[in-house]
Structures are given as C-alpha cells and as structure tokens.
C-alpha cells in the first residue's frame, strides 16, 4: 500500500474509491433533500432520499471535500438508505478512524442529515 493511503483507514479508502450511493436517485416517488455547506471548514454535503410510507427507501449523496468527508457522506447515505441508526459526527469519526481535526467536517455531514430529517418531518 502506498504511503499516502496509509494516512487513511481501510474503510475511508474503500468508500472514497467506490463512492457508493453518490449521484442522483432514479426519478420518481417522493423525494426530500438535506444540505449543509461550510466552505471554510472544507465541506459541502447534500443528501437526497426517497420516502416510502414515512421511511427512507433510498438515499444518495453529493459532496465536495476531503476523502474523509466524501467517505463520511457515503457511509451516512448507506445508513440512511438501509434504516440503520442515524449517524452523528462522533460516530462517523469513530467508524472511519479519522483524526480529531476532521471532526468539523463530520459536523457538516451531521448538519446535512439533520436538514434531511427536518424536511422529512415537514412533508409528513
């Protein structure tokens, strides 16, 4: 493994390389969005989720940021889509084995999730 890659956990690399659930949902159904942006903290994240019977049936993300940010957004989209526990910044950091200085970016991810949730609450 290259030296630069060693600066990231295997999970971050895996998610960064595949960027699963990046892009847009296939058209159709009821869709909600959640976006948060803090350019000065180096992150911009947007989720898009299809709602079926009050639950998230599918989810995608788009993001601008460092590898940790992209990985965290991908991980969060996966959790949102599969109905896992709602990820928060600290949980993401733990799961991605991220250094402390990245927490600010994970908070942006958390904010985007919160925005999604609040839009979901409104449409119901």
């Amino acid at each position: 493994m290259s030296r630069l890659r060693k600066a990231y956990s295997p999970r971050v690399l895996e998610l960064f390389e595949a960027l699963p659930r990046s892009g847009d949902l296939p058209p159709g159904g009821q869709v909600v969005h959640g976006e948060a942006l803090a350019l000065d903290r180096g992150a911009w994240v947007r989720f898009e989720a299809r709602i079926e019977q009050g639950h998230i049936a599918d989810c995608r993300f788009r993001a601008w940021g460092c590898p940790h940010t992209l990985a965290a957004a991908a991980l969060a989209a996966e959790r949102l889509a599969t109905g896992g526990e709602l990820p928060d910044a600290r949980g993401l950091a733990r799961e991605l084995e991220a250094p402390a200085e990245k927490l600010g970016r994970f908070l942006v991810v958390e904010d985007a999730i919160q925005a999604l949730m609040s839009e979901m609450g409104q449409v119901q």
Partner: protein, 396 residues
C-alpha cells in the same frame, strides 16, 4: 500479474531527483577513504578532500557565471536565505532599518523578514500583480534612504513567475542598497549570470537542480562586497561566514549536478517549457480550470492549475500512485496551511484548495506528460461527478 506502473513525478519544484552523475560522484566520494578526512585538516587526506570541495565550488560558481571565491557553501537555500537576509540587515549601517521584500517569498524569506520585524526593522511587503510578478517599479517606489536590504525571489516556487533581478539590482545599486535574490527555483533551470545581473547576494539550493538535499550556496558579489554578519559562529570555514565541517560528498554532488545542469541550459529550458504547455493543453479536457500565474516570464517547469469544484486533498489521493505532485507549496504542505502565494494573487481559499502545482524537469518526457494529463483528467472527472449542484461555479 500486471506490473504497477510507477507514478509520474511532477514535483521538481519541491525536489528534483538526484542526477545520476551526481549520485555516482557522491558514491565514489563516500567509498573512497582517501576523501573522507576533514577538509580543514592540514594532512594529505584533508588536502585531498579540500581539492574536491574547491573543484565543486568552481562548478557551482560556473553555473551562475561567478568566480569560485564568491560562493559559500551552506546547508541549503533556507540557510542561504537566512544568512543573506538576517546577515545583511544586521550588518547594515546604523540608521538603515528598512527592508523591502514581497508577500510571495518562500517561507524562509518571509520568516527571516518577520524575525527582522521583531528586531525592530520596518519591512515593506510588496504585493504581486495578478500574474504573480513583482515589478521593478514597485521596488523603486519602496526604496527609502534608510533601506538596508531588498530581498526578492528570482523565480516563485509556486507559480514560476520571474522577477527582473537585473532591473531591481540596478535600482538598488544606484542607492547603495544590497539586493538579495533567492534563485533556488531558477538556478540550473534558466541561464543566470550573477555578476552581470548586479545582485549583491544570491541563494541556491542543490536539491532543486539535481543535487543532494542538505547543501546550498550563497553567492556574494566581489565588488562591492556586501557586509554580512554570520548567523552561526565557529571555525573560520567558508571565509568565516559559515562555520562547520564542509561535507565533501555533498559539495561533490552539488558540483556535479551544477555542471550537468549548466550543460543542459542550451536545450532544456525550451524542451521543458514545450512540455509544460503540452500539459496545459491536455488538461483543457478538465475544463473549467484556470492557471495561477502567467506562462511568461517564468521558469519553464512550473504549471500551477486550479480545477473548478475540486478539493486538493481528494485530488491528491485520487492521483496517488499515478502522479506525484503537490497541492500548495511543498514546503508548507507539511503544515497544511493554504498557499500564501496564491492568496497574494487574489485567489479565494476554495480556489487555492482546488489548485495543484505540477512541476516538470530534466527527467520529464512527453509520454509522462500525456500519462499524467490523462490521470488528472480522469481524477477530476470522477470527483466532479459527485459534486453538489452549484459547486462547480462556487469552488473556483
């Protein structure tokens, strides 16, 4: 099993690979017990080492058209710049407490001038034009009766922009102000005649031109010789300006690299410049993008380019194993601070983060340029595919 293709090295501005001829000369020197004595020793072994050191000094001096006596060896350009800046200002006549420099200097120049501020000097920090250049006219306007020193880089390490050092030197000489040029990024890459340029002092770094890391040089004009207070004290080595055992193998490697670079000056600058422009053309496939700094006047090997919507750390990881390059200045990337040079050019923090410095040199081939461009275009494309709407225009 597919063999892994090695990454294209486009980070010559951070450090050039050691030239094969320099590596050979150093290895010979390190293997030959006869050259391992202290070059300050009186005995034959010491004298043999001294002869090697002096031959190397002549090679380094020749690269900038200077006599050997005008070159002092240091541990690198960082030390040369510090010795020149701190040494000249501290040795300035009483009452001369003003220094002229720019905001786009290498960190060694910036920090040495900040130290002078702490010592009570007043520093004028010139700002570059949008093309990254500092103009002689700006220096003319900044010079004062109490100016002790003007210090500017010859070529900028991030944009490659060149300063007209002869014009600045003429202005300074007319007012009896010593002018130091940091030529770490230009020496060996374009032709330089230090005595003809009229500069009082010039800093050089071996590892930027194919020599080893850990050795540099300071050129001092012979007449009038700039007054200099050393920053370290000890044995009388290097004309009393830079004490410490001179490392023979390091000098030999520097000398060999300087000689090779000098030979290449007839053809390399044009070749490297053409490759750089070819790279720029090939990168158009990754538009929207922009160039930080102008293609001319500049050293031939640096292309600083920003890609709309891109975050530097992700781009570097995406390029890992394919293209070796730097975001921001290599010298500051250890600290993770955004580039002060690009900021001085008026770029936003996001635009700075979206920029990488691609730097080419002696070993760079056309095939490598094509390979690197393809890798960059693909990487930018993949990252952009995941961007939120609006990011392409906002991150620019």
């Amino acid at each position: 099993m597919p063999t892994e293709r090695s990454a294209v090295y486009l980070d010559y501005a951070a450090s050039a690979p050691l030239a094969a001829g320099a590596a050979r000369a150093m290895a010979e020197c390190l293997a030959d017990a006869g050259q391992q004595a202290n070059p300050a020793s009186a005995h034959s072994a010491g004298r043999a080492a001294r002869v090697r050191v002096e031959a190397a000094r002549a090679q380094v001096a020749a690269l900038i058209g200077a006599p050997p006596e005008s070159v002092v060896f240091t541990s690198g350009a960082t030390e040369s710049v510090n010795l020149a800046v701190l040494g000249t200002a501290r040795a300035a006549p009483r009452g001369r407490r003003h220094v002229v420099t720019s905001r786009v200097e290498h960190r060694s120049g910036i920090e040495a001038c900040r130290q002078l501020e702490r010592e009570g000097f007043e520093v004028t920090w010139l700002a570059p034009a949008p093309d990254g250049r500092i103009e002689a006219a700006q220096v003319a306007a900044a010079l004062r009766d109490d100016t002790a020193l003007v210090t500017l880089m010859h070529a900028n390490n991030e944009t490659g922009a060149l300063t007209d050092i002869a014009a600045v030197a003429a202005l300074c000489s007319a007012r009896d102000v010593p002018f130091h040029a940091d030529a770490a990024q230009s020496a060996g890459r374009i032709a330089i005649d230090a005595p003809a340029s009229g500069v009082a002092l010039m800093s050089l770094s071996a590892h930027k031109l194919g020599g080893p890391k850990g050795i540099g040089a300071l050129y001092l004009r012979r007449r009038p010789r700039p007054a200099l207070q050393p920053i370290t004290f000890g044995g009388g080595q290097e004309q009393g300006l830079r004490p410490g055992t001179v490392p023979t193998h390091q000098a030999v490697g520097f000398g060999a690299a300087a000689a090779l670079a000098r030979e290449s000056l007839a053809t390399e600058p044009a070749r490297v410049r053409a490759l750089r422009e070819r790279l720029w053309q090939a990168l158009q496939a990754a538009a929207p993008l922009w160039r930080n700094g102008a293609p001319d006047p500049a050293v031939p090997g640096i292309l600083n380019v920003g890609f709309a919507g891109i975050e530097g750390e992700s781009l570097l990881l995406e390029l890992d194993g394919r293209v070796t390059t730097s975001s921001g200045a290599a010298c500051s990337s250890a600290t993770g601070e955004p580039s002060g040079v690009l900021r001085a050019l008026g770029r936003s923090d996001e635009a700075i983060q979206a920029s990488i410095r691609l730097s080419l040199g002696q070993g760079t081939t056309a095939a490598e340029v094509e390979r690197a461009a393809a890798a960059i275009v693909a990487a930018v494309g993949r990252l952009r595919a995941a961007l939120p709407e609006g990011a392409l225009s906002r991150i620019a």
